[in-house]
């Protein structure tokens, strides 16, 4: 095991992104300011101005152009980066699908934020969840350290010829984007460069002219989209391989779903992003009171880790899924709960969908404990509510 020498810095998740962008030697960055993403771009601007990062920074006039510009730059062969939140991600939406359809290895950071209206600059995952079907590989990180590591891994996965899909690295806006944590960063970017080598792919090269972004009629469109399906499936093994490489070099790895004290648990709480820390603390506290509770963290949102989750759910009777986004009018209104349901119900588990943290409404340890006792009450009675439970909302049922 040859782990590299690392130094410990105090970084918030936005700065962790910028350090990773620097360490993988990105060529082109395009972005437009939006809270809470802005400090990523400020830090990158600083790094470029100081000569720490040799990249072209395009100060575009919108997020739509930010993603469009990195699509162009990536097609021309550059390693690219962008970042946004909330309304910015919505404005990019059209190009999200084109970026993946054109199979461009773009990496984007998304410190998540609630959506207008009413306007809210605070956190939830409504923005990210709207990108569900855009064919982007999506990681949701839970610590600033994981944010740094995930950005590095994102390039390793995106640029692999078996994949060639864009990757999003999401995390809690404000709660993580602006919270300082200890982060280990290699003293020298050399080892990071070694595990993110530049690979040949088809680009806009006058010596080998290609036509990109053609019009496609019903004879071809379906097969081209099916290749995307395969690429997303291939990403599973590439993520696994690259996780091992990262572990070898940095000594850290992140499974697609992470279990915490689930071995002997009867019920587990599934959460994502920074909330997982709170859930772990709540589990510890409940265990000290004799409850058989565990926790599960979803890290890999796309491709959804069906097999890994199946494995973790094995000995559980029930699972609580805490969603920080609402799928209005859906059968289960928590977007992640909706994905967990077919996996868990097939195994005979009760699934309790809780909506919480909307627009950054506090979710504290005691909330988690109350959710668990509410769910255990349902479990005792053998009932499962048909709809999501809106935790802590005034005027709720």
């Amino acid at each position: 095991m040859s782990r590299v020498k690392q130094k410990r810095l105090a970084l918030n998740s936005n700065y962790a992104v910028a350090y990773a962008v620097r360490d993988v030697d990105v060529d082109v960055v395009a972005a437009y300011p939006i809270t809470p993403q802005t400090t990523i771009m400020e830090k990158i601007s600083e790094m470029i101005a100081n000569g720490e990062l040799d990249a072209e920074l395009i100060h575009v006039e919108s997020e739509h152009s930010a993603l469009s510009a990195v699509v162009g730059a990536s097609a021309a062969g550059a390693r690219v980066f962008t970042a946004t939140s909330s309304q910015g991600l919505e404005l990019m939406h059209e190009i999200l699908h084109i970026a993946s359809g054109m199979r461009l290895p773009i990496v984007m950071a998304v410190p998540t934020r609630a959506l207008s209206a009413p306007i809210s600059i605070w956190n939830d995952y409504s923005d990210l969840m709207n990108t569900r079907d855009a064919s982007w590989i999506t990681f949701i990180a839970s610590t600033a350290q994981e944010v740094y590591d995930s950005i590095v891994q994102a390039y390793m996965v995106a640029e692999d010829s078996r994949v060639l899909l864009p990757v999003m690295v999401a995390y809690d806006g404000f709660l993580m984007s602006h919270t300082y944590e200890p982060v280990e960063v290699p003293e020298d970017p050399g080892p990071i460069r070694e595990i993110t080598p530049r690979r040949d792919r088809i680009t806009l090269d006058p010596d080998n002219p290609v036509t990109m972004g053609t019009i496609t009629d019903p004879r071809w469109y379906y097969e081209i989209k099916y290749q995307q399906v395969k690429a997303m499936e291939n990403a599973r093994e590439v993520i696994e391989e690259t996780s091992e490489t990262l572990y070898r070099v940095l000594g850290r790895r992140y499974p697609p779903v992470e279990a915490y004290k689930t071995e002997d648990a009867e019920i587990a709480v599934l959460a994502y992003g920074g909330l997982f820390g709170t859930v772990q603390d709540a589990v510890d506290s409940m265990r000290s009171k004799g409850l058989n509770v565990g926790a599960i963290r979803l890290r890999q949102w796309r491709p959804f880790p069906v097999e890994e989750l199946t494995h973790l759910l094995h000995n559980l009777d029930a699972i609580i899924v805490i969603d920080r986004a609402i799928s209005y009018g859906a059968s289960i209104q928590g977007p992640v709960a909706l994905e967990v349901y077919p996996v868990a119900s097939r195994m005979g588990l009760h699934v309790y969908s809780f909506i919480a943290g909307i627009g950054q409404r506090h979710v504290l340890e005691r909330d988690i404990e109350s959710m668990v006792s509410k769910a255990l009450g349902y479990l005792d009675q053998g009932v499962t509510p048909l709809r999501s439970i809106y935790w802590g909302v005034r005027g709720g049922e």
Binding site: D54, A76, A78, P206, P209, G213
Partner: protein
């Protein structure tokens, strides 16, 4: 910059090599293909084309075929200028890092129609101009959304029929005048802005040459008569573009480093009805409506002559 440019004197000066290949699906009599053919002959192989959604894009790249012998990319309707900005930034960074040959000069050209420029692509265009990317933006202007079936755009001239501005009892074609896109672009103070038509080959070709030699953004606005949308006999496309200039419905001009110049002078201009009567889109206009169009042209001629400081566009011939 005092580079001596190799301007062309006639089409005989153009290279024989074709980089825009036959077999595409543009209409018989479409003048857009003439523009693209000339453009690529001028630009040569070391060129990357970024094409906005539109007639040229859909008609030349029906998968798995392509008409393009240079690298070409289409992303969406409104973002060609942003995509090209990314391409330019990529080449800069990759040359600086030695990943591609730093001595290699690669032209970056945006090709977009009027919808993708005047309307939906305007914001991205303005951003590209303000940031000063070295990109030549070529607007082929057929004065409506022809690709979706002739809907009105910001470029459609007054009283022109389109499917969304019908000639009715109350509303008489498009009520508004054409947006002066060239001057709006010029207001960004970029080094080179020009307007031309597909009928004036050397004027158009030399403007492409100057645009590509510009150290920064350049913008070439080409009038492109559309047989399907303007409703004229397919053989009349070039004649109509010439008539547009002869009637001063269109003025071929350029602004080079801030200096305005009319490149195709018209000593005596024809009445606009000579231009209008060959086109179905102006059919059914009253004499009064035709005179209203004539008055708009007269005002524009007066304005342009004033800027130049002498009469470069002459009076109406008897």
């Amino acid at each position: 910059m005092t580079v001596r440019l190799n301007l062309v004197r006639s089409v005989k000066d153009l290279p024989r090599e074709e980089l825009f290949m036959p077999g595409h699906g543009l209409c018989a009599g479409c003048t857009a293909s003439t523009i693209v053919r000339h453009l690529l002959k001028i630009a040569g192989r070391n060129t990357i084309v970024v094409n906005a959604t539109g007639c040229v894009e859909v008609s030349t790249t029906m998968y798995p075929y392509t008409a393009w012998k240079v690298p070409w990319i289409h992303v969406a309707f409104e973002n060609a200028a942003a995509v090209a900005s990314g391409v330019e930034a990529a080449l800069k960074a990759l040359k600086r890092k030695g990943i591609i040959d730093p001595s290699k000069q690669i032209n970056i050209i945006v090709l977009a129609g009027d919808g993708g420029t005047y309307d939906i692509g305007f914001q991205a265009l303005s951003g590209m101009l303000e940031r000063g990317h070295k990109i030549m933006y070529v607007l082929y202007d057929n004065e409506a959304y022809m690709n979706t079936g002739i809907q009105r755009s910001g470029s459609t001239p007054m009283h022109a029929w389109t499917t969304t501005t019908p000639l009715g009892k109350v509303l008489r074609g498009k009520p508004q005048a054409k947006k002066p896109i060239g001057e709006i672009v010029a207001a960004h103070r970029i080094p080179y802005v020009a307007s031309t038509t597909v009928a004036h080959f050397t004027d158009m070709d030399n403007k492409f040459i100057k645009g590509l030699a510009t150290d920064g953004p350049s913008f070439i606005h080409v009038l492109q008569p559309c047989t399907a949308g303007w409703k004229f006999d397919p053989r009349l496309g070039i004649k109509l573009a010439r008539l547009a200039t002869q009637t001063a419905m269109w003025i071929n001009w350029e602004i080079e480093n801030g200096v305005f110049n009319v490149t195709v002078r018209v000593p005596k201009r024809k009445h606009v009805r000579h231009y209008l009567k060959l086109q179905g889109r102006f059919k059914g206009l009253t004499d009064e409506e035709i005179e209203e169009i004539q008055r708009l042209v007269d005002m524009e001629v007066e304005r342009v002559n004033k800027i130049v400081g002498r009469e470069v566009i002459g009076p109406l011939e008897e």
